[in-house]
Amino acid sequence: MFFVRVNMNDRTYQVTETPPEYRHLAGRGLTSTLVANEVPPLCHPLGPNNKLVFAAGFLSGTSAPTSARISVGAKSPLTGGIKEANAGTSWAADLAAMNIQALIIEGQPKEKGAYWGITITWEGKPKVEFFESTQYTGKVLPDVYPAMYEKYGDKISVCGVGMAAEHGYGNSGVVFNDMHKRPTRYAGRGGMGAVMASKGLKFIVLNRMGAPGMPIVDKALFEEGRKKMIDALRTHAITKPKGALNTYGTAVLINIMNEAGGLPTRNFSSGRFEGAPRIAGEAIFETNKKRKGEEIYNHACSPGCIIQCSNTIFDEKGDEITSCLEYESDWSLGADCGIDNLDDVAQLNALCNAYGLDTIETGTTIAVAMEAGVIPFGDSKGAINLVHEMGKGTPIGRILGAGAATTGRVYGVTRVPVVKGQAMPAYEPRAVKGIGITYATTTMGADHTAGYTIAPEILGVMGKQDPLSPEGKAALSRAFQATTAFIDSSGHCLFIAFAILDIASGYQGMIDEVNGVLGTSWTADDILKQGAEILKAERRFNEAAGIGKEADRMPEFMKTEPLPPHNNVFDVPDAALDSVFAEL
């Protein structure tokens, strides 16, 4: 396997064998370790000393199901701390097939406003070439993405950044192609797009033709693990074909979070949204059925996914508005802004994809602006207009593009739902205490995927725990965070967790798959330890960047404002929050 280092100072590159100490790292484990080892914690995130690291998971590029995840890591311009964001895309499988364990983008060109793209092809080893890309800037992604396919053919995978990244926003993602060449699969959170753009890099095009594919040391063990994983995914009610995810998509969660009183509404001022049924996954399914005249089940975002949770939203005429509208986006652009018009929510989602914005940060930021009176709650046309302002980079657009925390500060808003500068996702910490502990303590800034305690607290996956109670939740969040750090390294999409946390043979299947690929003999304990090591490396970086345990806290209003309908506050003691990492 190789490390490919691309130097944007002078547009050169270097291919080396993976150094021994990194041989058994992949995905988030690899991006975070590299960033922690090589990026000065106090550097400016958009300066020449930050590095942008891409790493696919251990299993990406193999036949393991649902395993084409790519991790993107750097110091975040949104949080000022370490960041890993990941996405499902053929790009991950192609990078792995070319045996590139890490792609590291370094330096910064002297030419201001100039952009390049790179192509990576296989000529006995990975080969990098540079091409001019300034002409593709200042345009929405759907207008420039097709040019890559015209230039380099159909067999490629494309990574890019949009106008949000070119403007240097803390809210800007790195985008990858889906199975239909759409620029829609985002490593969205924490401003990874701006880091890439700051290096004058617009596109990374992969062509795996002739590449050897991922080496597998113990094929029999890998096959055994793969079968166990497939069995678990095919039988679990959430992940099986025509199961909840395949039928209703992730937005199936809108109704259950609303029922639980934990669907953040109108800038986190209520846990219930009366418009929830109109934007829920069920409404998406029924609306599509009516408009297309048939039941439409969801599709895969990336090759080899057998869960297939990605939806498409069609308009009255049966034309596509957007794909995919995830729960998080549906909520942030919908309920959190008081918007219940599904078509407008879909359009907002399409605009975020077009400009290269993170949907979670965008919706929550607009909700903060609504709280400030910039536009009223529920004003979907006004929200669409604000997203255009962000895309164009007007003064108000730039304020919003800097994220919810900055917008709150500019407008003097006190109810700003962020941790470490990153906006909270779609679960109310006052109604679901465990997820609040994850938001507060994860190295990433408020992030649900970092330790998804919603599984036992709401969904009855891996047992049941009372969401309103803080009891035992620090330990729960810690265990989820460590396990997740490993799953984020495996290459599997996190949604496999629904199946493998309930079906023990599926969990063993994941370990067997990874051992098969690497020729290791890791146990369940070993992978938990590795997860913990990843978290510790991230934590060390953050502390050196000035983000210590004082930053592991909820915004004040969550401790003082009771949230309807349960009228709970966030009552987890600071000592419990501190214990998450202290006892790791």
Partner: protein, 79 residues
């Protein structure tokens, strides 16, 4: 006694043709549990996964009271 019931996702058709989550008033015998309500509505047992009473998660032997709002979900997940 009368309670309000909302059924979600794949359970929706068991209360007639309303949209998912539309509240429907249901008459049940006093002292009935959620489990008995599920039987009354002929919900397939394996499909009843998470039950809410007035927004709080309850198990199948929770005894219902007059005027309760019940929400029942099949196994679902997302993120």
């Amino acid at each position: 006694m009368k309670i309000t019931v909302k059924l979600f996702a794949t359970l929706r058709p068991y209360l007639g043709e309303g949209a998912s989550g539309t509240p429907v008033s249901v008459e049940i015998p006093p002292g009935a549990t959620i489990g008995q309500l599920a039987e009354l509505l002929k919900l397939p047992p394996g499909e009843v996964k998470i039950c809410f009473v007035n927004g709080k998660i309850c198990d199948l032997n929770h005894v219902l009271a007059d005027g309760d709002e019940v929400g029942i979900f099949p196994p679902i997940g997302g993120g």
